[in-house]
């Protein structure tokens, strides 16, 4: 009877342990378009963050939707990993060729704007892949940022930046080998040592929309008093010791003067010079 009670308690503890840790263990992969702030006639930098463990993924494809009457797509910007769309290499000049180590650690991408007829909502079709996995462990990773130019006439408001699965087609399906319009997987993985003819692994990914809030806030005006002063530079310097994720969207926008998605002492220096 005593043994049975011990067994029951052990079973209960095991059950509670599974309940506590299961959500982390079974966390679904998610592609998040991060909410961001911007001002009129400014560049809005929208991070694309991958959560839930992308340490077995080395290719992603997705489509962003945005209001082209409010924003112009500028391009993709590097976050932590080097990215390249191949536009800078010169086939005739070996000096411009990357080294094998650079190629191995670079994410190659293509981003195409699809001007949707009879609609202000245009699409950006993005495909990116690298030789290595996007992350070395299950921590979140931001492979790149998407830059938009906020048009000067854009009203102060919050605008959705949608994300959806890319559809190959209608006129491109056959060139990609498909018989009809096809939704292509968002995430694909292939182990670095896998045989070339090995089937790739595809993963279900939850897609989370983001937004750009266009506000009258002045970049560099950390204190929010409407002008850039030395005090703003000092405030930005102190804020640079706070992890980026713990800053409010407003603080990120005002203090990240160079818009690189990081708050460093360089931003404080830039704000200091901006007052002149």
């Amino acid at each position: 009877m005593k043994n049975l009670r011990k067994f029951f308690i052990l079973f209960l503890l095991l059950f509670l342990g599974i309940l506590a840790f299961a959500p982390n263990a079974l966390a679904a992969k998610e592609l998040v378009v991060v909410d961001t702030n911007s001002c009129q006639d400014c560049t809005a930098v929208v991070p694309i963050t991958l959560t839930g463990g992308f340490n077995d993924v080395n290719g992603i494809a997705f489509t962003l939707t945005y209001d082209s009457s409010k924003f112009d797509f500028v391009g993709l910007a590097q976050a932590t990993t080097a990215i390249d769309d191949g536009s800078t290499y010169d086939s005739e000049d070996e000096e411009t060729w990357p080294l094998p180590a650079e190629v191995e650690s670079t994410i190659y991408y293509q981003a195409n704007v699809n001007d949707v007829a009879a609609s202000d909502i245009d699409e950006i079709l993005i495909a990116a892949a690298g030789a290595n996995f996007f992350a070395s462990d299950t921590s979140d990773v931001t492979p790149f940022r998407v830059e938009f130019h906020v048009k000067a006439a854009t009203a102060l408001d919050t605008y959705a930046i949608g994300v959806q699965q890319t559809i190959i087609g209608p006129d491109t399906a056959s060139s990609a080998g498909y018989d009809e319009d096809t939704l292509i997987p968002v995430a694909t993985g292939l182990a670095p040592t896998a045989d070339p003819l090995t089937e790739t692994q595809t993963f279900a990914v939850t897609l989370t929309d983001g937004s750009i809030t266009v506000s009258a806030a002045l970049k560099g005006d950390v204190s929010g008093d409407g002008e850039i002063t030395s005090q703003d530079a000092v405030d930005a310097f102190y804020l640079s010791f706070t992890p980026w994720d713990e800053l409010t969207a407003d603080q990120q926008f005002r203090a990240d003067y160079n818009g690189d998605g990081q708050l460093t002492a360089q931003d404080a220096v830039d704000i200091f010079y901006a007052q002149f």
Binding site: T43, G86, S91, W97, E104, L125, G177
Partner: protein, 139 residues
């Protein structure tokens, strides 16, 4: 007549044999009949191995970018023609064309002033040194 029969037989054999040969697009690296991210990943791996090899570097980067281009919903094949420098049309300032000798701004988000000395050709003079005559010659 006999020669024609041999010719027809040869053609028939070639057709029968070739019908069994699977045909793959150059971008279909893993030979699964569709072009997808798996092909892009494998192309990049080939690219890593060939990055210091002039013979295959160009073809491998073109194949990688074309595969990604198709995976990004476009069917255009990217191929840099001989002698052309860039894949990006935005970087075509090195092409010869006539340009104003006045400095100007290009509105592409960030204003970029192009100083006149970067251009090789000058053909337009913005202001005349002396104004044109107001009236025609009197007779």
């Amino acid at each position: 007549m006999k020669a024609a029969r041999h010719l027809v037989t040869a053609v028939l054999i070639i057709v029968l044999l070739s019908s069994g040969i699977p045909l793959f697009a150059p971008e279909d690296t893993n030979k699964n009949s569709v072009i997808d991210l798996g092909d892009a990943i494998l192309s990049i791996r080939d690219f890593v191995r060939s990055a210091d090899n002039p013979e295959t570097f160009t073809s491998n980067i073109e194949r990688t970018l074309t595969t990604l281009h198709i995976a990004a919903g476009m069917k255009t094949v990217i191929k840099a023609s001989r002698g052309e420098k860039s894949l990006n049309s935005a970087l075509s300032f090195n092409l010869p064309y006539l340009a104003s000798s006045c400095s100007f701004f290009i509105n592409s988000g960030l204003p970029a002033e192009i100083p006149e000395y970067t251009f090789q050709y000058e053909s337009i003079v913005c202001s005349t040194e002396s104004p044109p005559p107001r009236h025609g010659p009197t007779t």
